[in-house]
Amino acid sequence: MILRAILWRGVLLAALWCLLTEGRVDSWGLGVASAVLALAASLILLPPGSIRFSLAGLAVFLVYFINQSLRAGVRVALLALRPRLNIHPGIEPVSLRMPVGVGRVILVNTLNLLPGTLVVDLAANHLYLHTLDIGGSIEEEVRVAELRIAKMLGLDLDDEP
């Protein structure tokens, strides 16, 4: 288990270095050192076995993410260009089913890029979201994002709070 994780992450980090240097070989000494340090950090921060990463889940998530980013960008752009500013911002609490850990970090970052939501604060099992239009369907959007991320990482969501 742990050997497999080391192997996979090592290959991934080496590929990353290869990408950064665009395939040049003269800096591999530094590359190997960085990859080893990054591997150690990753093993400490995300112990093997805490997630079951799914490639199919990643593909579904990416399509969803790009689609939502486009919607978000276009929507805020249109709001910014209106001659009369027509926004009704406010802060809303939304319950959270994603367990503590890497899933939550990804969830917060994703919600920050979703149409109309910014995460203001993170409590034990609540999110405080700032929205441009209060009273929209924010809770549903959070549920969808949670589900997509949980599928990608192979995490179980907590029961309905």
Binding site: E22, S69, H88, N109, L118, H130
Partner: protein
């Protein structure tokens, strides 16, 4: 002008337009929270289209993947930075701007 060049130029122009609108939003929106909406969402799209335009011109696959990597890392940094700024603002007690309900408006 060949078709890839035309496509690349269009994407770059779209990217620049999003950056411009994001900046307009930054200037027009009323408080720190709404301004961050404009910055995160619109500028990430601007960078996305810029990267897409450049990927078409990339000399090889490695350079293209590197550009995509730049986009991903910038996205991550922007989303995380935003969270830190906005949480600090909230902790300091900066009240979010509220729309004035003007019921007597025509």
């Amino acid at each position: 002008m060949s078709i890839p060049e035309l496509l690349s130029a269009s994407f770059l122009l779209i990217g620049a337009a999003f950056f411009l609108v994001g900046t307009i939003g930054l200037l027009r929106f009323p408080d720190v929270y709404t301004r961050l909406h404009a910055l995160t969402k619109v500028d990430n799209l601007g960078l996305g289209f810029t990267v897409l335009g450049l990927v078409i011109q990339a000399p090889d696959a490695l350079a293209a993947l590197k550009l995509v990597l730049v986009w991903l890392l910038a996205l991550l940094a922007s989303a995380t930075g935003n969270f830190l700024i906005i949480r600090r603002a909230f902790d300091k007690g900066i009240a979010p701007w509220m729309a004035q309900e003007r019921e007597n408006d025509p």
